[in-house]
């Protein structure tokens, strides 16, 4: 896996939204939703994209599907540049890449039967010939996600949240995609149902060799499901590492704070010792974010340098990169001097 060409390669991605005010559309600032993000996804892996609200993880996911306008950067999918695809290329792309949504209630059209919801990609891309083949394919998909084939003739409101999420997954599978972008696919579900969907995603990956981009804020779920994790803060990537490395040896102060703030379901004092809610403040607005390192207003180690200059992403060990001046050998002196 490591030497093969990645399925998806993103470099220096920027998505900025101009804010307009007044009648003449005067520019009133820029929302830097994604501001210089780079990562890749290997074939067959699950890449986690985590961060708190406003960190740009969802916008990044949408940019992969070319659903949000790009300000700058390049996206390569399977070696092909999809930064500015023409119409047929875009349609091809949206067959090979599919999306699973957070909201199991809103993501399915309540007026359509499951048959037509799950089969919509088949219709859009004309993948089956004739009614019978279409129906058969949809029923096969339903069974693949653990539903009964005869449920095809029901409407979404007859299903529970977990079942609807399965329907959404079946729809995403319909066009035989290679990459599935999962945008918080289990965060709206109850714990007992969450596990069903997580297991399903794992099974499907094994069976079909799928690649997932898993966008989530629940770090326990991400740790369970993802092979590699990208931590984002305010539109930037702050740390990328394999699962074990990230959870056992987080290096960026934000990652450390984030992991420390998760309440662990174990009342033992030893376990609870690791809980460290010390991080103060909240994520600043992505409208005109702070200069320098975006995390500096909340960072316990922030120095003058951090306020002035944005840190670069550096690989501090194999497959582990951090964007923090503390870990930049060229900046170590400046940091030490100020500490």
């Amino acid at each position: 896996m490591p030497n093969a060409e990645p399925l998806l390669q993103v470099s220096d991605l920027r998505v900025h939204f101009p804010l307009q005010a007044g009648l003449l559309g005067r520019n009133a600032g820029t929302v830097k939703a994604v501001d210089g993000v780079a990562f890749h996804i290997d074939r067959g892996e699950t890449l986690g994209l985590v961060g708190e609200s406003g960190c740009g993880k969802s916008t990044t996911g949408l940019a992969m599907l070319r659903m949000s306008p790009l300000t700058d950067g390049r996206i390569h999918f399977d070696g092909e540049d999809i930064t500015h695809p023409d119409k047929p290329a875009l349609k091809r792309l949206r067959r090979r890449m599919q999306m699973v949504y957070q909201d199991p209630f809103g993501a399915l059209n309540p007026r359509m039967k499951v048959l037509d919801i799950v089969g919509e990609p088949l219709r859009v891309h004309r993948l089956t010939q004739g009614r019978a083949a279409y129906r058969e394919k949809v029923m096969g998909l339903l069974e693949k996600v653990g539903l009964k084939a005869e449920m095809a003739d029901r409407y979404p409101h007859e299903f529970s949240g977990g079942q609807r999420q399965r329907i959404g997954i079946a729809r995403a599978l319909a066009a035989d995609p290679e990459l599935i972008i999962c945008d918080e696919p289990v965060s709206a579900l109850d714990v007992s149902i969450q596990a069903q969907v997580i297991n399903l995603l794992e099974d499907l990956q094994k069976e079909l060799g799928l690649t997932y981009l898993f966008i989530a804020h629940d770090l326990a779920v991400v740790r369970h499901l993802c092979h590699r994790i990208v931590v984002m803060y305010l539109g930037r990537v702050v740390e990328v590492a394999d699962r074990e490395t990230l959870y056992d040896n987080p290096q960026h102060p934000y990652t450390q704070a984030l992991l420390g703030a998760i309440p662990i379901a174990n009342p033992d004092p030893e376990v609870q010792q690791h809980f460290n809610p010390s991080l103060s403040g909240e994520v600043p607005s992505p409208i005109d974010p702070p200069p320098g390192c975006p995390f500096h207003p909340r960072c316990p180690h922030a120095t003058e340098l951090c306020r002035r200059e944005a840190p670069r992403a550096l690989e501090i060990e194999d497959r582990h990169s951090v964007a923090c001046h503390l870990h930049d050998p060229d900046r170590a002196q400046a940091m030490a001097g100020n500490l």
């Binding site: 704070a257 703030a261 662990i264 609870q272």
Partner: protein, 334 residues
């Protein structure tokens, strides 16, 4: 960290056989079905359950905040300081709300009136209950905002809700809840809408303030991590009933009810090695307008026996600090 359940503590709230039904499409939904529990003075009691388990309805029933119709409290007693809240008339219960028992809701975005300044809203419970002389209201508001560690309180008093972030708004809600120093604070999913790092700040704050005021708190949540950290005792609810109750140690280290066991196994946990497969609870929670006979959990239960399908198990005490509603000895069968 968690106080041991202390038998010597006085009981502040004693709920007995609370039963709330909702009318839905001509069917009766037993949202809260003969629920009994108590809250001791100074403790943090958690009610854990998934959506539809009846945990929020339980909390709202205590203060008689059930929208009626379609909801109705059909039975039970809610003894607060030995007075049955279900017997009070509307005026009496209104005077009690916010003064003796306050409630904090989930959505910090919609719980504040967008067209009124923070100071005005914060002062409302104080004015209504007349607990502070008029000229001291502003002073008390400032003090409250300082208590919830909202920076720059003078300025915040004159701000409108949209000028505050989600976490700040939730701090204001907590300040409103604590304004009259209630003896019991009911927090219904107080941090669900917030980011993890903010959630941690808010929960720590809530616990500290409740302890400082010597109040009790009923924490209603679906998050077992939150429960493990903050609760002294835990009630696990399923399908409108309490299925297990105990101290935090008991519930997390020696869960006895198959549902609680299932929750623990189905949850990816940060305190255990990753990679092992999760064991989900099969099936779906029951439709409460047509609940299964016997134990409401039996259709999803791997231990279910013939008796579970016909007879509903009562909530029975099994050790000093542990109750469960289950016929099966899960330890022996595991």
């Amino acid at each position: 960290m968690n106080m041991k359940a202390d038998v010597t503590r006085r009981t502040l709230l004693d709920v007995q056989d609370l039963h709330t039904v909702f009318e839905k499409d001509g069917n009766e939904v037993h949202a809260v079905n003969q629920v009994s529990f108590d809250v001791k003075e100074g403790e943090i009691l958690a009610i854990v359950g998934e959506s539809g388990s009846g945990k929020s309805i339980t909390a709202m029933s205590l203060l008689r905040l059930i929208p009626s119709p379609p909801g109705r409290i059909v039975g039970g007693r809610v003894l607060f300081n030995d007075q049955d809240l279900l017997d009070l008339d509307d005026e009496q219960i209104r005077r009690l709300r916010g003064r003796d028992i306050a409630m904090i809701f989930q959505e910090p975005m919609t719980s504040l009136n967008p067209s009124l300044r923070i100071g005005r809203q914060l002062a409302e419970p104080l004015r209504v209950h007349g607990s502070v002389p008029k000229e001291k209201v502003r002073e008390r508001c400032l003090e409250l905002l300082r208590q919830v560690r909202l920076g720059d309180p003078e300025k915040r008093l004159d701000a409108y809700p949209h000028e505050l972030s989600g976490g700040m708004r939730q701090r204001v809600m907590i300040a409103m809840g604590l304004a009259c120093l209630p003896k019991l604070l009911i927090a219904d999913e107080p941090t669900t809408a917030l980011d993890v790092t903010v959630q941690a700040q808010i929960l720590e704050l809530l616990r500290d303030l409740v302890r400082a005021n010597n109040s009790s708190m009923m924490l209603i949540t679906h998050d077992l991590g939150v429960v493990a950290r903050y609760a002294d005792r835990i009630n696990v609810m399923y399908a409108g009933r309490i299925v297990e109750r105990g101290t935090a140690e008991e519930i997390f280290h020696h869960p006895k009810h198959p549902y609680t066991l299932g929750l623990m196994e189905s949850m990816p946990r940060l305190d255990q090695a990753p990679g092992s497969r999760l064991t989900p609870i099969p099936g779906q929670p029951p439709d409460l307008s047509d609940p299964p006979p016997g134990c409401p959990f039996h259709p999803r239960c791997r231990f279910a026996e013939a008796r579970c399908r016909s007879e509903r198990p009562p909530l029975e005490q099994i050790t000093d600090n542990h109750w469960k509603a289950c016929w099966v000895d899960t330890d022996a069968k595991r």
